[in-house]
């Protein structure tokens, strides 16, 4: 229980998000371009973090399908900034030893001659620590 509270605290601090501001309109999920790829949707991230129900989020692929496009941040009427929460949860996972989602040895297989290295750098920043 204590760990759970700590994790929530850590996520709130790292993200700077106050989920209590959410009025549950769902505009974040309405606007999310990656919605169909996500098991948990932006509004659920907000609600579940608020409730301290973070464990399922840690396990979810949803963490790696958020595009960080900031559309939810831009359009949220309450300034909740769901993308920041997703980022903080993702960091909580990949900052653990050996928990990187993307490993250097995976890279060569993913390459394509035209791919700008910006994509690799970005993905590394997002998926590994």
């Amino acid at each position: 229980m204590e760990n759970k509270a700590n994790l929530k605290e850590q996520i709130l601090t790292a993200s700077g998000v106050n989920p209590l501001k959410c009025m549950r309109c769902g505009k974040c999920s309405a606007t999310c371009p990656s919605y169909d790829e996500m098991e948990y949707h932006p509004h659920q991230f907000v609600y579940m973090v608020e409730k301290g129900n973070i464990e399922p989020l840690l396990q979810s692929e949803s963490l790696y399908t958020c595009l960080t496009c900031f559309a939810c941040v831009e359009r949220c009427p309450r300034n909740v900034q769901p993308a920041k929460l997703v980022e903080a949860v993702r960091l909580a996972v990949i900052r653990e030893q050996g928990a990187n989602h993307l490993k250097p040895q995976d890279i060569p297989a993913l390459l394509d001659p035209d791919l700008p290295q910006q994509a690799i750098v970005s993905a590394f920043r997002k998926y590994a620590k």
Partner: protein, 663 residues
């Protein structure tokens, strides 16, 4: 030196049980200036009051201290008693030895000691009291209503019914306001025009009401009972008293491409126009921004065609100055522009409309004569998506409005229902965050929309609207089924937030009436004085005070009228004499006091003074209007020179109390 009488009340045992009242009376008798001291069981009783009156007469008292219950209980009782025997009522001070002494202390010695100190403080204050006479001012028996929407009309009608003259100042060419643009009203679905226009006609025909249409407020001076107002009657280039409203000119005017504001710019009117068929006054107005004659001096068609020669291209704005006893603000609202929320593509597709535009599209007198057609191609829409809370309930000013606009849930239900009724082949979706329907028959109405009319209410918000290939691709969240919806809609209707009319801000400054951060007028008390502004003599009616539907607006309009009538029946107003006053000899003219006065009671003028060296000098000094000042004392502290002081609570009086307590 004052001759002071001290009267210590037992209040039965309420005081006497924990305060030795005799000792208090004895001790206070020793204070300088005290020539009489007594205690009695019930000072507020008739015999108690007689004791006070007799002592005032017998001992020629110039000041009275009553040690009793809170002044909030009986200050007036004792002041009246004193006044009845010729002592100025403001020479009476109360020492509160019940609520603030006997009732909170159990130990008699402690209570007695404190009661004596409180008595001393009151005596010290009375020494510095001076007789105060409340000013009187006459009341001009005429009211001004600013804004001619349903709120203004109702207020004016009620005041006129009671027999007082009322002027309505309306900035557009006709009264009627937003209600005139509505198609039907919830929850009864009456035709808005059918219930409004008779009231407009009544206002026009009521002898006591004068309507200044196409007019604005230039300047407000004076105070409650005595306002002096400059009204600017804008040049309409048509002689209002001659024009018959036949409308011929509005058909012949060659300038046909003027966006028609009555239909939210969805069709065009001419440069000379009558806003709508039932306009009051039914008089044409020339729009100077579009009239070719006014812009280039060439045309004159309307003048040639007018049978009664009502056109006057040389007309100028005219200033009317009039006096009023009371002013009612009824400036109403506007829907906000959805331009800031372009994820809904309002600026990208004509088929994305606001609710008020939709209202006009549904209205028989609207641009489509009441047939629901898409603005882009004039085709009948089959799928319509309504989006609630556009710009309402937002966090932070740049996002939108922090408040709930209150009327959108109901009018959206109305729109959805009417659409389904007229066109059962349409699919209607309403995206909502919460459906808020408190009000008589309101929730029932909403339920009918769902249950009888099969409107699809979906809990969630629309995130993006993409106009593509003649459709509006709506991407939205359905929170209850946890899916993202993609709807190909023909029209999207945005329930945009309401905001106070932009003219309200400058009007508030002219009236020195306060506003909240959203530019709604603030009321004198949020619960108990909801139709009065904190500025005496200024009353609030309708949306200018906060979001309201029509029944609430009409209730408030009548309530404001009742308050106005209550003011106008008086011949004279008696002021509170405990007001601020400025010592002209000390005043520096710095304007600090003027800045903090919430009532605009302080004015500055240059006055000539004889200086000690016998020269005269012009100095800028402050003067307080005692009829406007409410006596808060903010100015007395802002004044750096100590020129500003407050009758009844002067610097010296309060310091004397401090000294007496700290002895």
């Amino acid at each position: 030196m004052q001759r002071i009488g001290v009267f210590v009340c037992w209040c039965g045992s309420n005081i006497a049980a924990t305060v030795d009242v005799q000792r208090v009376a004895e001790e206070l008798k020793k204070e300088p200036g005290v020539v009489f001291s007594a205690d009695y069981q019930y000072m507020c009783s008739e015999s108690g009051q007689n004791l006070i009156k007799d002592a005032i007469k017998e001992h020629a008292l110039t000041g009275v201290v009553i040690c009793s219950c809170s002044p909030r209980m009986h200050e007036n009782t004792f002041r009246k008693a004193a006044a009845s025997v010729g002592l100025n009522p403001y020479m009476v001070e109360i020492a509160n030895i019940r609520e603030q002494c006997s009732w909170i202390h159990k130990d008699k010695a402690t209570g007695t000691e404190k009661a004596i100190i409180l008595g001393r403080a009151a005596i010290a204050k009375v020494h510095l009291n001076a007789p105060l006479i409340a000013g009187e001012s006459p009341v001009t028996k005429r009211a001004l209503v600013i804004g001619g929407g349903i709120a203004g009309i109702q207020t004016a009608l009620d005041i006129a019914e009671a027999g007082f003259e009322v002027d309505i100042v309306e900035k557009s060419p006709t009264i009627g306001g937003k209600m005139a643009q509505l198609d039907k009203t919830f929850p009864t679905l009456d035709c808005s025009a059918c219930i409004l226009t008779p009231k407009m006609v009544e206002a026009a025909q009521q002898e006591k009401i004068k309507i200044y249409s196409y007019s604005e407020i230039d300047e407000v001076k004076g105070f409650v009972g005595n306002f002096s107002v400059k009204i600017r009657r804008k040049a309409r280039y048509v002689k209002e008293d001659i024009c018959t409203g036949c409308g011929l000119c509005t058909e012949k005017c060659p300038q046909k491409k003027v966006p028609n504001e009555f239909n939210m710019g969805m069709d065009n009117r001419r440069a000379i126009y009558i806003p709508f068929a039932q306009a009051v006054p039914k008089v044409a107005t020339i729009d100077p921004n579009y009239c070719t004659m006014l812009k280039t001096g060439k045309c004159g068609v309307c003048s040639k065609i007018c049978g009664v020669k009502a056109i006057d291209y040389t007309q100028q704005d005219e200033i009317v100055e009039a006096k009023y006893g009371a002013i009612v603000v009824a400036t109403g609202f506007n829907p906000i522009s959805p331009a800031k929320f372009d994820e809904f593509a309002y600026s990208q597709s004509p088929d994305v409309v606001t609710s008020l535009e939709y209202e006009r599209l549904m209205n028989a007198a609207g641009p489509t004569n009441g047939t629901l057609l898409r603005p882009s191609d004039g085709k009948h829409p089959h799928t319509i998506v309504f989006v609630q809370c556009v710009g309402s309930r937002c966090d932070g000013a740049e996002k939108g409005k922090p408040y709930c606009s209150k009327v959108c849930c109901m009018y959206t239900a109305k729109h959805a229902m009417l659409t389904r009724e007229k066109y059962p082949d349409t699919d209607v979706y309403v995206f909502y965050i919460d459906v808020r329907t408190p009000g008589k028959n309101f929730d029932e109405f909403y339920r009918r929309a769902v249950e009888e009319y099969n409107v699809h209410y979906i809990k969630g918000m629309v995130g993006k609207v993409v106009p593509e290939n003649g459709k509006l691709k709506v991407q939205a969240a359905d929170l209850l089924s946890n899916e993202q919806l993609h709807i190909d809609a023909d029209m999207v209707v945005l329930a945009t937030a309401v905001e106070p009319d932009p003219s309200a801000r400058s009007l508030a400054t002219k009236l020195t009436a306060s506003m909240d951060t959203n530019d709604f007028f603030t009321e004198a008390h949020p619960k108990l004085r909801p139709v009065e502004s904190p500025t005496a003599g200024v009353f609030l009616s309708g949306m200018c005070q906060g979001p309201k539907d029509i029944p609430e607006t009409v209730s408030q309009a009548s309530a404001a009228a009742a308050k106005v009538i209550g003011l106008l029946v008086k011949d004279k107003l008696v002021g509170n004499p405990c007001v601020a006053h400025s010592d002209e000899l000390l005043c520096n003219g710095c304007s600090s006091c003027e800045k903090v006065c919430p009532y605009g009671a302080i004015t500055y003028s240059d006055k000539e003074f004889r200086m000690p060296d016998r020269t005269t000098a012009l100095r800028r000094v402050a003067a307080v209007n005692p009829a406007v000042c409410q006596g808060c004392g903010a100015c007395t502290v802002a004044c750096p020179s100590g020129a500003m002081d407050l009758f009844g609570f002067s610097n010296n009086q309060i310091m004397a109390e401090v000294d007496a307590i700290c002895k």
